[in-house]
């Protein structure tokens, strides 16, 4: 197995750019999904559920929920792109095979894909932020800082998703990851309620999950609260991104460079 530490080079942007060009062709349906889904969540859950809940942890429920959905949607977008789309390009479509006949390497391909997944996360998080601010859920201008944070969240979840693609023999395999990893984080990491309301043991477990840290960064910015432990939260996200990038490169090398 080729365990060499991957090199991140500017040419990775060529892979990113290819995906941007494809995305531009499908811009209308993609943006509809980006805006439509959060609108549904915020209107349905935020207003519907918010009516009964009122405030949550000292915040209007719509604000609480919107900040959680921004982070979890960055997670979902990167996970989907890193699995279904990356797998499509790697296996049935042979896009990586064609790239490996050019000066591009697996290192460049995975770096470019992670940047692209993070870009899509940023697009979807920004769309939700816009919808939330139209509904009056965004309480601070500092919320614009959520945009670069969404990119970091995207990087953090893109890597593990690509690792899954590298292992996968078919699309069905991704159900495990969604059921065992993405959905539990969505439920447990503080999207819908503060993690402090969980039992103590579960709370410490939830602390190692990246979505918890993603929400810890996004919520204060949206809700006009003081940001604490920024270094720690960013470090956790970047740690997951770096480790999973390395793993993804090794595993995709093993799959394609045989």
């Amino acid at each position: 197995m080729d365990l060499r530490v991957p090199r991140i080079r500017p040419r990775a942007l060529k892979v990113w750019r290819r995906n941007v060009l494809v995305w531009r062709k499908l811009i209308t349906p993609s943006l509809l999904i980006n805006f439509g889904e959060p609108l549904l969540y915020l209107l349905g859950l935020g207003f519907g559920l918010g009516m009964f809940i009122g405030d949550m942890a000292g915040l209007p429920y719509l604000t609480f929920l919107a900040s959680g959905i921004v982070a979890s949607s960055a997670m979902n977008t990167a996970s989907f792109e890193g699995m279904y789309s990356v797998y499509t390009r790697m296996v049935p479509q042979r896009t990586y095979g064609s790239m490996l006949a050019t000066p591009l390497d697996v290192d460049d391909i995975i770096a470019g894909e992670m940047l692209w997944c993070a870009t899509k996360s940023t697009i979807s998080a920004t769309a939700i932020l816009l919808v939330a601010s139209l509904l009056g859920a965004v309480l601070s201008l500092a919320a614009v800082l959520v945009v670069p944070i969404a990119f970091t969240i995207g990087l953090c979840f893109a890597g593990p998703a690509i690792v899954m693609s590298a292992f996968s023999k078919s699309y069905d395999f991704f159900n495990y990851y969604f059921t065992l990893v993405v959905t539990p984080m969505f439920i447990l990491c503080g999207v819908f309620y503060p993690i402090e309301s969980l039992p103590a043991t579960l709370q410490s477990f939830v602390q190692v999950l990246p979505l918890t840290h993603a929400i810890a960064l996004v919520r204060p910015l949206v809700a006009d609260q003081p940001l604490t432990n920024i270094g720690l939260h960013l470090a956790v996200l970047l740690f997951y991104a770096a480790i999973s990038y390395y793993l993804a490169v090794i595993l995709v090398r093993r799959r394609l460079i045989v």
């Binding site: 040419r11 060009l21 479509q93 896009t95 006949a101 000066p103 390497d105 394609l256 045989v258």
Partner: protein, 309 residues
């Protein structure tokens, strides 16, 4: 003495070996491809052709041996080697999300090629493969032959010194095949080095200056098509159909030919076909074909007629 790259080999393989676990798929093969040559890599399915090509492109590490392209050892210099190489893979891997022109443009970007010069290059390449009027078509609207032609154009986008073609004409109609042959000859005349694998012996005979026949991962013959025919098979062949076990009585003692039977066909390999054909003239109910030996006879003679997977 002046050392230029022109004097050195484009590809040099010394004792190249590839193992997958216990299975040895390429066994200590050594060969040299000089600049400007069309070099053929022939062999039955599973002989190790595609694995050899993957090693040449740095897409597969060597288990043992030394392999250099443009004097650069692989797989360590894969990026540098691939920057100067064009690849036509065995299976189409065109980008279905793009039009024909976009396929070329995006692929060019992987080589760092952009700007005004690229537009001209794309126009020239589309002309070269007669796809100019389809530039805006989507890939899934193309026939198999058009896809192959586009793949060839794509392989030339970086003006490569070496073009590697893995079964470029498999599954194509004769019109496209002849067109591709003509283009490959053009490329050779323009000084490019070609490495070609094919299952069509006629193709190898027409295009290749030198070729290698490999089987079970090892080289079993090497030389120009003419030299291989001279060395490995009798110069003339008479093919007979419908002889039904009467072959000995028909040809008699004096025929002096080597006989192989496949189904209802009998092949007589001989140095002098006159006695055989004279006898056959007397049996009008038998259809026979008298022809010079070709590369396919060589191939079947040295790799055998057993089916491969």
């Amino acid at each position: 003495m002046i050392h230029t790259e022109a004097a050195t080999a484009i590809i040099e393989a010394i004792g190249v070996t590839k193992r997958f676990g216990a299975q040895e798929v390429v066994r200590r093969i050594s060969f040299t491809v000089p600049r400007g040559q069309c070099f053929g890599l022939l062999g039955p399915n599973g002989a190790g052709k595609t694995t050899t090509i993957k090693m040449i492109l740095g897409q597969s590490p060597l288990t043992a041996g030394v392999l250099t392209v443009f004097g650069k050892p692989l797989p360590d210099h894969a990026s540098v080697v691939r920057a100067r190489t064009g690849v036509v893979p065995q299976e189409d891997d065109l980008d279905p999300d793009f039009t024909i022109a976009e396929n070329l443009r995006v692929y060019a970007s992987y080589f760092g090629l952009e700007g005004r010069g690229l537009d001209t290059r794309i126009k020239e390449l589309l002309e070269f493969v007669s796809l100019t009027d389809r530039a805006e078509a989507r890939v899934d609207q193309l026939s198999g032959g058009m896809k192959r032609r586009l793949t060839i154009a794509r392989a030339l986008i970086n003006d490569p010194d070496l073009v590697v073609l893995d079964e470029p004409t498999t599954g194509l109609d004769p019109q496209v095949r002849h067109m591709i042959w003509a283009r490959l000859r053009d490329l050779k005349h323009s000084g490019k080095t070609l490495l070609l694998t094919t299952h069509y012996m006629e193709e190898a005979e027409r295009l290749c200056d030198d070729l290698l026949i490999i089987d079970h991962g090892a080289i079993i013959a090497q030389g120009s098509p003419k030299a291989l025919i001279r060395e490995h098979v009798e110069p003339e062949v008479v093919e007979l159909r419908g002889a039904d076990g009467r072959i000995e009585s028909l040809l008699g003692e004096r025929a002096d030919c080597r006989i192989e039977s496949v189904g209802d066909t009998v092949y007589c390999y001989t140095h002098d076909s006159t006695p055989v054909t004279q006898r056959l003239q007397g049996t009008p109910e038998l259809s026979f074909l008298h022809r010079p030996a070709n590369l396919e006879d060589v191939f079947l003679n040295i790799t055998g007629r057993d089916l491969r997977d």
